[in-house]
Amino acid sequence: MSHPYLSLENVGMDFTVGGRVFHAVTDVNLAIERGQFVSIIGHSGCGKSTLLNIVAGLARCTEGGVILDGQEVNSPGPDRAVVFQNHSLLPWLTAYQNVRLAVDKVFGGRKSTTERHDWTLHNLRLVHMDHAVDKRPDELSGGMKQRVGIARALAMEPKVLLMDEPFGALDALTRAHLQDTVMEIQTRLNSTVIMITHDVDEAVLLSDRIVMMTNGPSATIGEVLAVDLPRPRRRLDLSDDARYIGYRAAVLRFLYERHAKHEAA
């Protein structure tokens, strides 16, 4: 029998706050094939980030487990590289050095110094940041920082790339540019990606499948929508594509009709 590349099995997460047990996430079952781009969408507080942290190994789930490529996940590692929401570049290192730190750590024993240098530059080129390799994070714009963050994650050659609202802090234009870059890279490298988002357009544009989460507490997967749009996708062509509009409406209906958040936002 064939196992999926990445599977979440009965994943649950309880927090104990002041002696009371709080079920943040319960009964999450998800199978992801190699090369798939999966978005997880839901209202804030639905445990999306918790789920991503569990896959990353940054948090241990209290129930169930995560299996990646036949191995159980129980600690963080470079095979599940994370692109953090606020880039998390080390401010005292240049763009090059930030990526190089990851490259040295992951390939230190396997690649020569020249190979590691070339690999670092190669990944910065992938995200179109080869013009600013010697800049420090505070000299880069928000979008550029996030590009370097993506380069750092890609440079680890992860089995699955985890992105935690990677474009949440960016303006609309920069966000569109970065989405295009990510699509281009994902098609080229056939990466397996899990992305947390709360942007419906972003989810439909980028994903093969959209996982929609119900509201917490005890959040779980409400629905999974397969997005069957041909790649490469171009946002302009899609904007009046009937299928695209249909997918978009389906996600919106889930979020705002069936699982609307009732408290004041």
Binding site: A56, G57, L58, S75, G77, P78, N86, S88, L90, W92
Partner: protein, 290 residues
């Protein structure tokens, strides 16, 4: 004829260009010098005013303190020759300052290493924090000189006692600032380290130290200031060569002018120490420390 005049004209134009360039450089140098001087002007005015007031206040015959003009004439031999050495404690100010700086250097080096290590410990481990922080908070309020009798009793020699006083005075701000720095390391950096599977040693050198450098240097700056405060006081009590003893000795001989001169030197050296630490901090951090 015409060619000659042409050449001459060309030559003249070139010469004029050279002159103009020279004039321009000279002008910009002058402008820069003038802005520098203008920057210093308020300081000069303040200094002259203060010295003038002091001169006026202490000018009278019955004055208990000498005016600045007297200070300079009285101490002129000390000012022009800081390097004399007549044996014993009869040395130039340079030697006294060097002796004090040596004690500070040793005490401060020890407190820096120990302070950073302890700061990392209580910053990183909440158990250590809960155990040690209250003790540190109490001990850091003990005045420097209160440690002197105990250290004299323990070390039985003047020099190590003075060094211990420096150590114990300057260590607290270093510990506490380092600990604050370690505790404020963003969770994001820790997550990066965990994803990359950095070893504890790699984490220390590649993340913790660079992330904490601005805090450490704030602690070191306060620490070096306190060291310099403490050494003068400690040396007054333990004797020997040192700027503190020099002041005490001058007091015992009623040489007020020498005390005032020594105070000026103490102030200037303290200021330089502070600048040096800031400079090193900026270098190490590769950015402004503050």
């Amino acid at each position: 004829m015409s060619t000659i005049s042409e050449n001459g004209a060309v030559g003249r134009v070139q010469g004029g260009g050279g002159l103009a360039a020279l004039a321009a450089t000279l002008h910009s140098a002058l402008v820069r010098a003038r802005t520098k001087l203008l920057d210093l002007l308020p300081l000069v005015v303040a200094l002259v005013t203060l010295l003038g007031l002091w001169e006026l206040a202490c000018r009278g015959a019955g004055s208990s303190l000498p005016p600045p003009s007297r200070v300079v004439t009285d101490t002129w031999p000390l000012i022009i020759d800081p390097f004399f050495d007549n044996g014993g404690v009869d040395k130039g100010l340079f030697w006294h300052l060097t002796a004090s700086l040596e004690r500070v250097a040793i005490g401060f080096a020890l407190s820096s290493i120990t302070g950073i290590a302890l700061g990392v410990l209580i910053g990183q481990s909440s158990l250590a924090f809960r155990g040690l922080d209250p003790i540190f908070q109490v001990l850091r309020t003990v005045p420097p000189l209160a440690w002197l009798p105990i250290s004299l009793a323990a070390f039985r020699h003047a020099d190590p006692s003075a060094i211990f006083v420096i150590f114990i005075t300057s260590i607290w701000p270093i510990i506490l600032n380092t600990a604050v720095g370690v505790r404020q390391i963003p969770q994001d950096y820790r997550n990066v380290a965990r994803v990359l599977r950095l070893s504890p040693l790699e984490f220390f050198f590649r993340i913790m130290l660079p992330a904490t450098v601005p805090f450490i240097f704030t602690g070191l700056k306060i620490g070096i200031g306190l060291s310099w405060l403490a050494i003068v006081a400690a040396e007054m009590l333990i004797g020997g060569v040192g700027i503190g003893f020099f002041i005490w000795d001058a007091w015992n001989s009623s040489l007020m002018s020498e005390i005032i001169l020594a105070l000026v030197y103490v102030g200037l050296v303290g200021f330089i120490l502070d600048r040096v630490i800031t400079l090193i901090g900026n270098r190490v951090a590769g950015r402004k420390v503050g």
